[in-house]
């Protein structure tokens, strides 16, 4: 066990998986000599060489497309998108080639496409996005987003070993802000399994990524007001852990869906639908969404702070729902 940051946990997973399986290799922009824009891959070029840590031209379609091709040959490519916002440039390759290959031609595409997502870093409209909803309506893809260092490592290992294309979103706000003791040795966090981060009786808050910490903060504070939040960390966004979600809602009867992405068309929609469809009977109040407003991510601190969901906004919504 050693205390490592979220970022170091990602690096550990990459390094260990490359060690374990010679088919695992990395490709992306500036990930080799430089070690990546956020230094996630630092040291791996030195350790594994230029054949397994490949600096590519600036061409996200080629990065993802080439990863697909290599995966078809039995390799296990892990592609980095320098900022996840640029995944939009590979949208076509991901949704049309990677996602559909197994279905239509019986060839699986075991790739991981990873990159830093999320706001809070004053990155503005093009370096702060949360892109999970772009991909949610594409059968064939998987998506995960860890909230802790432990999960960052375990989910990445699971993603690399998965037989299908996995988008791995790492929240850049968490990179160096959170750390914890995690096992030095091999473990995985299975894709498709949520985790109850905090048990509670009154309201289920279902969330993921950086917002897990917001939810825990709010829960701590609301405790004193006699409102007991249960916090469910999805970890996997596609597939998601329906059982865990529904169990929590059945238990508390009230639910808040919390995410950093904007509201309309955000991930919460899918959750609301599955809850309102499958455990409607158990609901004791409206399904509440706490999300960013429907604008691009603004850059200036007062604007971005206003934009991002936070503990206060969640608490306000929770108080209202508790009183319902």
């Amino acid at each position: 066990m050693a205390v490592v940051t979220y970022l170091e946990a990602i690096r550990q997973a990459l390094s260990e998986e490359m060690q374990r399986d010679e088919n695992v290799f990395l490709l992306g922009e500036d990930i080799g000599v430089y070690g990546g824009a956020f230094k996630v891959t630092e040291g791996l070029y030195e350790k594994f060489g230029s054949q397994r840590v490949i600096d590519t031209p600036i061409s996200e379609s080629a990065i993802v497309g080439a990863a697909c091709g290599a995966a078809m040959m039995g390799m296990r490519p892990v592609a980095e998108i320098q900022f996840i916002d640029f995944i939009s440039c590979a949208f076509d390759q991901l949704t049309n080639y990677a996602a559909k290959s197994r279905y239509r031609q019986g060839i699986g595409i075991p790739i991981v496409v990873r990159g830093p997502c999320g706001g809070g870093g004053r990155g503005g409209p093009f370096h702060s996005q949360n892109v999970e909803s772009f991909f949610l309506n594409t059968p064939g893809l998987k998506m995960v987003e860890p909230a802790t260092a432990y999960d960052a490592k375990g989910l990445l290992k699971a993603a690399i070993r998965d037989e299908d294309p996995v988008l791995y979103f790492e929240h850049k706000f968490l990179y160096r802000r959170i750390k914890e003791d995690i096992p030095d040795d091999d473990y995985i966090v299975p894709i498709g399994k949520a985790k109850v981060r905090r048990e509670g009786r009154d309201i289920s808050v279902i969330t993921y990524g950086a917002m897990v910490h917001v939810a825990l903060e709010a829960a701590e504070k609301l405790q004193h007001e006699g409102i007991d939040l249960e916090v469910v960390d999805l970890r996997s966004l596609l597939p998601y852990d329906k059982e865990a979600i529904l169990n929590s809602v059945v238990k508390t009867s009230k639910v808040i869906l919390l995410h950093e992405a904007t509201r309309i068309g955000g991930y919460a929609g899918e959750l609301a639908a599955v809850i309102a469809e499958e455990v409607f009977d158990c609901l004791d109040g409206p399904i509440v969404r706490v999300t960013a407003p429907d604008t691009p991510v603004p850059y200036s601190p007062p604007l971005e702070d206003f934009f991002l969901p936070n503990a206060e906004k969640l608490m306000k919504a929770a108080r209202q729902l508790a009183a319902y």
């Binding site: 290799f25 054949q51 397994r52 490949i54 590519t56 031209p57 061409s59 996200e60 379609s61 080629a62 990065i63 993802v64 497309g65 080439a66 990863a67 697909c68 091709g69 290599a70 995966a71 078809m72 040959m73 039995g74 390799m75 490519p77 076509d92 390759q93 049309n96 080639y97 559909k100 197994r102 279905y103 239509r104 031609q105 019986g106 060839i107 699986g108 059968p139 064939g140 998987k142 998965d162 037989e163 299908d164």
Partner: protein
């Protein structure tokens, strides 16, 4: 790879070109009988490009064909019945089980990868296969086919550049057939010779008469040799012409008759027959025999496909994920 050809090889070129054309003609009949589901795309007049280039490859190499490259798939070992079934949306080994259409089938063993419809997208994918082959120490070559029109896509550019920079054994065959759907080449790109695009990537580009199966074969052999020798990617522009509309529903009224007449004279099969005869590799009788054998074979294969079942409705739910 040697560029001297045995008699058998010369005859094989003919066999596969003829097979391509006859197979497509058989498909046209099936189309008229409403047995082909969806569109029907023909490679009439372009058979030499697909066949000649594919012959330059060997087992373990990979192609990614487009709609005009059925001939390359045949060379790579796809069975006519598989193609018939595909076009008829039937089930069966070697098909997509009714999930995807026309030539969108893959067999990693036989070495062909099913394209997706989004033009250009296969270029990065084939670069990735080449990259893996290199990493795995296999001395393989990948070949990606696309049209003059598809070379306008961003994916083409990113993929070719990626392969060039990483010195990958990938050959891009640009089939310049005068049109992209209804759009004449000059409205697609100002260059007359698409091979010149290679210069922008710092790789070799060669122009070849796409209607001359031997020339195509030889040019591809040169590119394959370079690729196998570790010299990296290259582009071949095959100049040819699309003798029918974009698909069965398009009568290509937008193509000047004079142009078609000129290219009619360049028919790759007709001219190759002359070549074979002039070089005592075949005579009218032996050609006729081959043609008939092909027709008979295709008849059997089409029958098998005709009798093949459609896939089961519920089967469509399986196999999205591992």
């Amino acid at each position: 790879m040697t560029e001297t050809l045995s008699k058998q090889q010369y005859l094989d070129f003919y066999y596969y070109m003829r097979m391509t054309r006859s197979l497509e003609e058989r498909l046209t009949i099936l189309f008229r009988q409403n047995k082909v589901i969806g569109g029907l795309y023909r490679s009439l007049g372009q058979e030499a490009t697909a066949v000649g280039s594919a012959f330059a490859l060997r087992d373990g190499d990979f192609i990614s064909p487009l709609i005009r490259d059925m001939g390359a798939m045949l060379v790579k070992g796809v069975k006519p019945q598989e193609l018939f079934k595909q076009y008829m949306a039937k089930d069966g080994e070697g098909t997509s089980h009714g999930r995807d259409l026309n030539i969108h089938i893959a067999d990693m063993k036989r070495g062909y990868v099913g394209p997706i419809s989004q033009l250009g997208d296969m270029v990065p994918v084939m670069a990735g296969i080449a990259l893996a082959g290199k990493m795995q120490g296999k001395n393989i070559v990948t070949m990606v086919y696309l049209g003059d029109g598809a070379s306008s896509t961003g994916a083409f550019h990113e993929g070719v550049n990626f392969a060039a920079v990483l010195k990958l054994p990938m050959i891009t065959i640009i089939e310049n057939n005068g049109y992209a759907f209804s759009t004449p080449t000059e409205n697609q790109c100002l260059v007359k010779d698409f091979a010149v695009k290679a210069k922008g990537y710092g790789i070799p580009g060669e122009i070849v008469d796409g209607n001359d199966v031997i020339a195509v074969y030889q040019a591809t052999c040169r590119a394959v040799d370079r690729a196998r020798a570790g010299e990296g990617a290259s582009i071949i522009e095959a100049k040819t012409f699309r003798m029918l509309g974009h698909a069965q529903h398009d009568n290509q009224s937008y193509v000047p008759k004079e142009v078609l007449d000129v290219w009619h004279e360049k028919d790759p099969i007709k001219n190759y027959q002359e070549f074979l005869k002039n070089n005592n590799l075949a005579d009218d009788a032996s050609l006729k025999e081959m043609d008939e054998k092909i027709l008979a074979y295709l008849e059997e294969e089409a029958d098998i496909a005709d009798r093949a079942p459609f896939p089961q409705p519920e089967s469509s739910l399986e196999g999205v994920y591992f």
